[in-house]
Amino acid sequence: MSNYIVKPDLAVTFAGIKSPNPFWLASAPPTNTGEQIMRAFDAGWGGAVWKTMGAQVTNTSSRYSSINWNGQRMMGFSNIELISDRPLDINLRELAEVKKRYPKQALIASLMVESTREAWHTVVQQAEDAGADGLELNFGCPHGMSERGMGSAVGQVPEYTEMITAWVKEKATTPVIVKLTPNISDIRVIAQAAKRGGADALAAINTINSITGIDLDTFIPQPNVDGRSTHGGYSGPAVKPIALNMVQQVMSDPESMLPISGIGGVATWKDAAEYILLGSGTVQVCTAVMHYGYRIVEDMIDGLQNWMCEKGFQSIEDFRGLSLPKVTEWKDLNLNYKVVAHIDEAKCIGCGLCYTACWDGAHQCIHVDRVSGPIDGPVELHLKPSEIEAASRNTITVTPIPKLDAASVTTPSYATPLARIPRVDETECVGCNLCSLVCPVDDCITMVEVKTHLPSETWEERTAECLTGKSC
């Protein structure tokens, strides 16, 4: 820890919009009403994107479903809810009230109307008159609205995205953020279109088309609406890796790069730090708040500040985008870099998961042969997993009874027997990481660099040499 007494300032200016911290609520049920947003600001949220206003809709009952994983609820979350089902004038009146009471927080109006210049001009005017600090164009809603020519129907066609963004820019006096849909083969194409249309910023990603599951008794997919279902928008921790990749793609392309608000599975300060390291100026949160409430922002602020202190960062800008140069294309990776797995015998608990993973899922170079003696070399020389298990099943085991087994019954020791500690054949190990990923013990399997004494060489360099006639 450094010696800061005053915690670092988290204030950001995102495309000209000032916010006390980078934590915004995404346009979603947590920002449905003014009353909610005011409570969220009281809890510490730096900004909120009002649940999308526009053409009034009717929502279904039920609307949400989720994926539980290994005892954890809502690893992935899906919704078939549409935009705000409240009248536009009420939303705008409440927005004006919130802005008056909370002038320092960023209040963004998310908008979606039918695809005409007049409709967009009208709603932009209304939102700005109510006092919105910025506008977010919802070109991403994956269900319902897209069938009416809105939402992802716009965000999936570069021409529409560019055209509508341009219409909005004709009228808007506040910054315009275009929210991108991930339901497209290359998100950069739409981001580029938004930029050409004059967007001031981007937000990514919206939810991902999904069916979370099917009831195996009724055969009805979730969520069930009177016996039927439809695809929903997927969010939550499960989507973060997908969203991070899309943010990185947009931020690494000069044609699409704009201030970006990162969205997708943000639940903790660590998630937020990762989005910021990939260039995000703010992050938006929905699912985690739907799971645990507005209160989660307290640790997001506190944790991020403590981490920044530790790293010596005094502002968000100090570390924003630091990881971008560390992402390249595969062809630019050094093919002469080598790591091998190393098992710490003192930490190993003998579960054998690395062994199974290496044999079935990787390169058959972890062996359970410390007692029977090492045999390096091809896979044929080693006992196969099924042979080891069969031998165990054939052993005769008895309950240790002190009276009958006085000599052999000792105080139990939970040290892992050597026979159960796997061994890595380093000559065969390709350094894939799998064993270290499945190992349940922290820092038991580490990937250790092995000096190859070869100069760095990328695929591109190697194939270029081939083309120039050198051996390869």
Partner: protein, 442 residues
Amino acid sequence: MQELLQQKPEIAAIFADLHPPFQAQAAVIEADRCLNCFDAPCTGACPTHIDVPRFIKKIASGNLHGAALGILDANILGASCARACPVEVLCEGACVMHGLNQQPIEIGRLQRFAMDDFHAQGGRLPRKSYENRPEKIACIGAGPASLAAAAELKQRGFQVTIFDKHPLPGGLNTYGIAEYKLPLLDSLREIELIKELGVDFRFGVEIGTKTSLAKLEAEFDIIFIGVGLGAMHKLAVTGDQQPRVTEALQLIEDYKTGKTTHIEGKVVVVGAGNTAIDAANAAKRLGAKEVSILYRRTRKHISAFDFEYRQALQEGIRFLWLTQLMAIRASSEGITSVECARMEIGSGGLLRPIEDSTFHLECSMVVSAIGQSPMLELLAQCRDVQLQQGRVVVDRATGQTTNPKYFAGGDCVNGGREVVDAVADGKRAGAAIARLLEVAYV
């Protein structure tokens, strides 16, 4: 059976489950904790080698029927073993979670969860073959070893008959396990499935007396000896003929079958094995004012498992170490006290009484729990079956005795271990008998 059912509530209230069953959600959470080890140590530690991670992951996935069948495939008494096994020194003792300083996976309770569901759903034991074979096998004793051997053989289509002198099957599984671990009715429910397989049970038949072994040999191709151990050792002190001197196993059987529902006064238990502790705990729960265990040596010499000892302390049992029973004193009313001497362990571990250390301990009931003797009389009648120190000599992998027509397993072979050991013996013997007969047939 019916009258037992009616007596149960009273006993059930006193002997509520020591390890209550899992609720469904808790079972899944616990199952999810299992790492799914390769060549899992828990499986290796189980004498019947139940594939523990396999059934636990089936619980996690919601495949409870598959979980139960996986358990039964390895251990036909999976339901009672789930409850009666000393898991602390078996599967759970071997769990790698110890190495992470975490509680081991609650394997016993998960196994019970799968088996309870199996019984609740009316599950039936699977057959391993459609064939019906003519060969006949007799199993002497209806305890865990014979049940396992019989099931293994019946599942493959052989004709199996089990003989037992008791009116109920199960041996110690039914009569001898503390009710808070395994209720008598749960033992019977499990055996009912083996009956349904088509195994023929003959109760009230004492082999070696009216029904001779020679007759059995003439009628059956193979005989499996699963007779367990016999009477408990006598205390052999003055007063041991008093009516309120009883054996630990008898005390347990009496309350489990509803014969005893209450015990009064102070009780002295002699011996400190697992059975002694079961009897002491039972006496306490049945109303005894004070229960003392007398043991000649010290805490570190007892043959009871550590968790059993700790359980006894929790139940309020008093332990008198280095104490030897010398005599039982009685008046015309019955037992009044026991006379004891203090012991000391001299050089070379030799135990001797301390001079003038005699003292009296007031009590009205004395329970002997100093071990069981082998069934020598019966075993002697098994032609050419060799014994060693009272135990039947077998080939461990097959259970075959020195007479190739005789196989044996369980306490009469291993000297008195756990239910799961008997099941493992019976299972191996059953499979070996089947192999033997199939080879002969071809």
